[in-house]
Symmetry: C2
Subunit: 460 residues, 2 copies
């Protein structure tokens, strides 16, 4: 019997990265590791689901970074289709229910606990929202269910509710499968993860791709047919027939268990941790991935950001600390990148509304340049918006919409934000230049120069 | 008559950016601006010449950012085909010779002087090196001369001497024009701007493209035919017939005038300036672009780096200071990016030999990952090498060889170097992640993690 037992709740990126890293540092006779996962899969790329649905990649196997068998081969006692239903922190145990075995329940004790319960798609409490034919796309099981619906359905009308990253990616996936796609977006522009002026560029591009995008469209209900299947979506003004409905309204932290156990949650419902990813106020409980809030290094507030790359980092940090090593996760700057067909969309740092909410005064500039030297074949327009703090000139955020090579340029700003650079410091950054890669002034530098001038012009 | 006169020597990026920025800040009655250029063109992209020669872009007009007429329309007195032959600093005047007008000479006085004399291709003192048919590719006039030779020559054998960026780009250009191309490289690998292990990847790729690359091949002479035209290149071991010969051995600062005037030069022959780009020890003389040495922020030494993006920044800084504003150029980290066909090649910071020369102890790691999520269609191998300082873990340099999306990733490291980050700090960078753009751990993060482990393993 091992000296200690680690229990992991949730078998995707954060949970299994934590388990794997802990196993690297501690032998089985030092640390027993039991991981519970209610689904059929472990350690997969949820971000790849839109590409699986769109037929761009094979699934689900290609999306799995490490299979249950691989985890078990590394001495992790992985229990699939087993849902944790209660955390009993006083007695250091969790209650589980076996989903495929008549719901058999039991208790498992732990010395150390990792919560990696992920996120769930937002599902507003509307009539019909739970009807068959309405799909989230958060897990591989969700992806499989959506594909089953698509295969079983003859109609070719799809409605995507919400035009954030997932909504836009799913719209593209469904277009690829030959669907007529309507995207209903509550806000004034799609990509509400961008400022409206930048979102308008995405809207134009989506129209060009044949995706009907309705703005200011708040969904009021899902209508169902005689068998109870979803058949249309209604807004205040209109009814949109739908053979399949995809929810792309974002996700919220799945912290039902944690809340019931009295663990500390932030404003958006995510678990609050310290920099070592230990749940605040707890000695032996860690949490990471889509179920936590993280420190936003730009605004100083905690935020909920569901993203596989963060989940992996959290798991790595947790596993190091659980295993007796030392690691911290300092926070995020809010970087995200996506694409719809060949239009690349990226942002990092604060949007205007975030900056205002954080009490910051700032200037904004927007420039249009090209992804390559203007004379190089294939040069395409690229728009960069930059926010900088009044007086100090500190970079606050960057948004980019453009074509090949535009999206990952946001990394320049992500590193600059992490380093606390001013836009004037950014004007002299030594970025890679050659005609196939960039104009002689990289678009990010052009924006930094304009922001520097705006800061100066704004005076005191 | 204006209150002051600015004289600019050299009409390409640095010189004309300085002139333009000074003009923005000072009206013609405050500052007269005279610019001398010995060639036919102004403000052009020398970096675009290989693509012009290769037929990828039209030239030379497309490569010109601002024409002589545009400069003149902005009240810059631009004098083409006029070579400055002497700087008389005691009397604050320059001697010029008109190249198309019988060599007429005259003196022009200045209150302020900008030296932007650029660089010239290295031409080792070998027999035959100045024969017709041997071409540098530093100026648009050089590009035009090379194209004239190509059009006048029936043979299809080209020899490129040197396999740095220009050599490799010219090899690709000549392959595109249907030439059999042999590249002779003195060092053990092509791309001596990379460490040999990374250069070997480029060598393999060049072979795959049908470019014959001979390593360890020091050129001993250019052989000429009865009319004195170049017909072959010899090394100690062999003779390589050539209908055209391109010098890609890099460039050296063109500072003959400055040296004759006693201005301070660094070890590689470039002018030395302060951070405002003012020539050291001078009150009224600035210098920028390919004729200066710049501070390497990683090693702390000055270096000569000929690159249009630096030249433009220098010009901007000089123009601001000449015009009564304030700007500085803090230095470089040594970023460069290039490609040969679809292989992208990038580096920033120090190579191993640079780090050793700077007296640094360091660890190196190399990783292989992919430019996109491994399961995403089109994912291709990407190699990242990272150098980090012993004990401190400070990032010292990154080299990348890969495919689409690989090259500009070097910008992540360029910003991190500028900010003085450690490789451990880099492991938590919030970089853009989505399957079409990156694996869930960006290759730069993978390298940073491995470098962090190497630093820890190296102990004290």
């Amino acid at each position: 019997m091992a000296a200690e037992r680690l229990v992991v709740v949730g078998g995707d990126a954060a949970g299994m990265a934590a388990a794997s890293q802990a196993r690297r540092l501690r032998k089985p006779d030092e640390l027993e590791i039991i991981a519970f996962e209610r689904g059929h899969f472990t350690s997969y790329s949820a971000c790849g689901i839109p590409y699986w649905v769109g037929g761009v990649v094979d699934g689900p196997d290609a999306l799995i970074a490490r299979s249950p068998e691989e985890h078990r081969a590394r001495d992790i006692d992985l229990r699939l289709r087993t849902e944790v239903t209660e955390l009993d922190l006083d007695r250091c145990r969790v209650r589980t229910r076996q989903l495929d075995d008549g719901g058999r329940e039991s208790w498992t004790g732990f010395d150390k606990l990792v919560l990696a319960t992920g996120a769930r798609p937002r599902r507003p409490a509307l009539p019909g929202i739970d009807a068959p034919g309405v799909h989230g796309v958060q897990t591989l099981d969700d992806g499989r269910a959506l594909l089953d619906t698509l295969e079983a359905t003859e109609g070719r009308r799809a409605v995507v509710v919400g035009a954030g990253y997932i909504g836009v990616e799913m719209a593209e996936a469904l277009i690829r499968r030959g669907y007529e796609v309507t995207v209903l977006e509550q806000s004034e522009q799609p990509m509400s993860t961008l400022d409206p002026d930048m979102g308008a560029l995405v809207h134009t591009a989506m129209c060009g791709l044949g995706i009907e995008t309705v703005r200011g469209a708040a969904v009021t209900a899902v209508l169902t047919d005689a068998e109870g299947r979803a058949r249309a979506v209604t807004t205040e003004d209109a009814e949109y027939p739908a053979d399949v409905i995809v929810l792309g309204m974002g996700v919220q932290p799945e912290t039902t268990l944690a809340a019931a156990a009295g663990l500390p949650l932030g404003e958006s419902g995510g678990l609050l941790t310290d920099l070592a990813m230990r749940v605040r106020g707890q000695d032996a409980i860690w949490a990471g991935g889509d179920c936590v809030e993280v420190l936003d290094l730009v605004s100083g507030h905690t935020r909920h950001i569901a993203l596989g790359t963060h989940a992996n980092k959290h798991g790595q940090v947790i596993g190091s600390n659980v295993g007796g090593g030392y690691a911290t996760f300092p926070g995020v700057v809010g970087t995200a990148v996506s694409k719809v067909c060949d239009l690349e969309i990226a942002r990092t740092g604060l949007l205007e509304r975030h900056a205002r909410a954080a009490g910051l005064r700032f200037v904004t500039v927007t420039i249009e340049s090209t992804n390559q030297a203007g004379y190089y074949p294939g040069a395409r327009p690229m728009h960069v918006k930059m926010l900088a703090e009044h007086r100090t000139g500190r970079l606050l955020g960057v948004q980019i919409v453009g074509h090949e090579g535009a999206g990952k340029r946001v990394d320049i700003a992500a590193v600059a934000l992490t380093a606390g650079m001013t836009v004037e410091q950014m004007t002299t950054l030594d970025l890679g230049y050659a005609p196939p890669f960039s104009p002689v002034w990289d678009p990010v530098l052009v924006a930094a120069r304009k922001a520097t001038a705006a800061i100066r012009a704004a005076g005191v």
